[in-house]
């Protein structure tokens, strides 16, 4: 029995033929999460139902205003995008891909405290694929790592095993933001001590590696230490997305069209 467990640990995970079985088992496991959150959801819907008319009217007014402001901003955005497309064409650079987003609901968080995994309610049936980026309202949250038929799991950027290629928005200096197993900070490695980097710099995805499309905000630099004699600075950054709140996240789905990065990278 021990041998069977060890075999599954070391060998079975590499067999591609078992991917289907794994997906089914994962759907089953995610169903358990769904059952476990039923009381919470039921309570939320009761609270929703009991919300006062006054409150709803207030919300409605606020949302309409917000919508107006956002629509105003979008008008500029369209013009700017057109301009950028023209410039990129002039530079013979690849076109930006228009990404569609899909809203998914966060069912739960994995019970394992060492992992930062979200359980989502959309799966392969909805077009979710492994590797698609996960976005919050404020910035990049993570990526899809496991997909079942009607549920998926996403790894947050703060997980110990996660790393995302980033660049400083101000000057394009590139680095890699690694998760530290802590929601509050990422570690930026291999930035030379003499590099131009300052507190509060915005880090966006660089698009290198071909997994994340370029330009999504990831984190802001929150601490820089320069140990005497070390070649690299110790840099920490705070993720922009609220990784542990919010019921809804966006999954960026690549639409048909030119890729954002070279075809070789894909």
């Amino acid at each position: 029995m021990l041998l069977l467990c060890l075999a599954s640990l070391f060998y079975l995970r590499n067999i591609d033929g078992l991917a289907g079985a794994r997906a089914v088992l994962m759907d089953g496991a995610n169903f358990i999460y769904r059952v476990a959150v039923t009381p919470r959801d039921a309570w939320a819907s009761v609270a929703d139902y009991l919300q006062s008319r006054e409150q709803l009217r207030e919300d409605n007014r606020r949302l309409q205003q917000e919508n107006l402001v956002l629509q105003g901003k979008t008008q500029q955005f369209v013009a700017v995008m057109a301009e950028i497309t023209r410039y990129r064409a002039l530079l013979n650079s690849s076109q930006l891909v228009a990404r569609e987003v899909m809203v998914a609901e966060v069912i739960s968080v994995s019970s394992d405290p060492t992992r930062h995994l979200l359980i989502l309610d959309k799966g392969a049936d909805d077009g979710v694929k492994i590797g698609q980026p996960l976005l919050g309202a404020e910035g990049l949250m993570g990526q899809i790592v496991e997909v079942g038929a009607n549920s998926a799991r996403a790894l947050l950027i703060s997980d110990l095993t996660h790393a995302v290629p980033v660049q400083i928005n101000r000057n394009g200096v590139r680095g890699i933001a690694e998760g530290a197993g802590d929601l509050d900070h990422l570690i930026i490695r291999h930035i030379a001590a003499t590099t131009d980097i300052a507190l509060g710099d915005l880090l966006v995805t660089s698009g290198l590696g071909g997994r994340f499309p370029p330009g999504y905000p990831v984190a802001v630099v929150s601490s820089i230490t320069l140990p005497a004699g070390a070649a690299f600075a110790q840099i920490e950054a705070q993720p922009l997305a609220h990784l542990d709140r919010g019921r809804h996240v966006l999954i960026a789905v690549a639409s048909e069209g030119p890729a954002a990065f070279s075809s070789k990278a894909q």
Partner: protein
């Protein structure tokens, strides 16, 4: 009433319920204090019915928890099997202990299972909990009397044997 020998579904059902309770959402940093209920329920049944519930059930339970947590499948299964073997060798002695002693033993067994899991994870280069898994084991100790009380009630009521 269900005939005694066939009441093993009680075991399966209680393990499933423990699994669901294990999946209850907690705030991010509170997850360290999750008491590994599934393991405690498993240990109770091994202690109560060592001739029926053994390493096979332990492995299945471990697989289920691994799947639930999104870990490498098999890590906790190895830990659960090792802990179950210890109970199988010593169940006659453990049964004689009082509640507090039993709770301490169960805490240690939970710690052992988690330790084996974290060793395997470290060996495979996955994130391991460091020493924080002791928290789960510590929470398991006060949980044991509750688990035992409830499951003993179930066992007597459904005449599981």
């Amino acid at each position: 009433m269900i005939s005694s020998a066939n009441a093993l579904w009680t075991v399966a059902a209680s393990l499933l319920v423990a699994l669901v309770l294990h999946a209850i959402p907690l705030p991010f940093d509170w997850r360290w204090y999750r008491p590994e209920l599934t393991l405690l329920v498993l240990f109770y049944w091994v202690l109560a019915l060592p001739h029926r519930i053994g390493v096979f059930s332990a492995a299945i339970t471990g697989f289920a928890v691994d799947l639930l947590e999104g870990d490498l499948v098999g890590g906790l299964a190895v830990g659960a099997v090792v802990a179950t073997l210890i109970i199988l060798f010593t169940y006659q002695r453990i049964r004689q202990f009082n509640l507090i002693q039993q709770g301490a033993i169960m805490g240690m067994l939970v710690a052992l299972a988690l330790l084996v899991e974290s060793w395997l994870h470290q060996f495979l280069g996955l994130p391991a909990p460091g020493y924080k898994f002791w928290l789960a084991a510590a929470v398991a100790i006060p949980m044991w009397p509750v688990v035992r009380k409830v499951l003993r009630g179930l066992r007597r009521y459904f005449e599981v044997s």
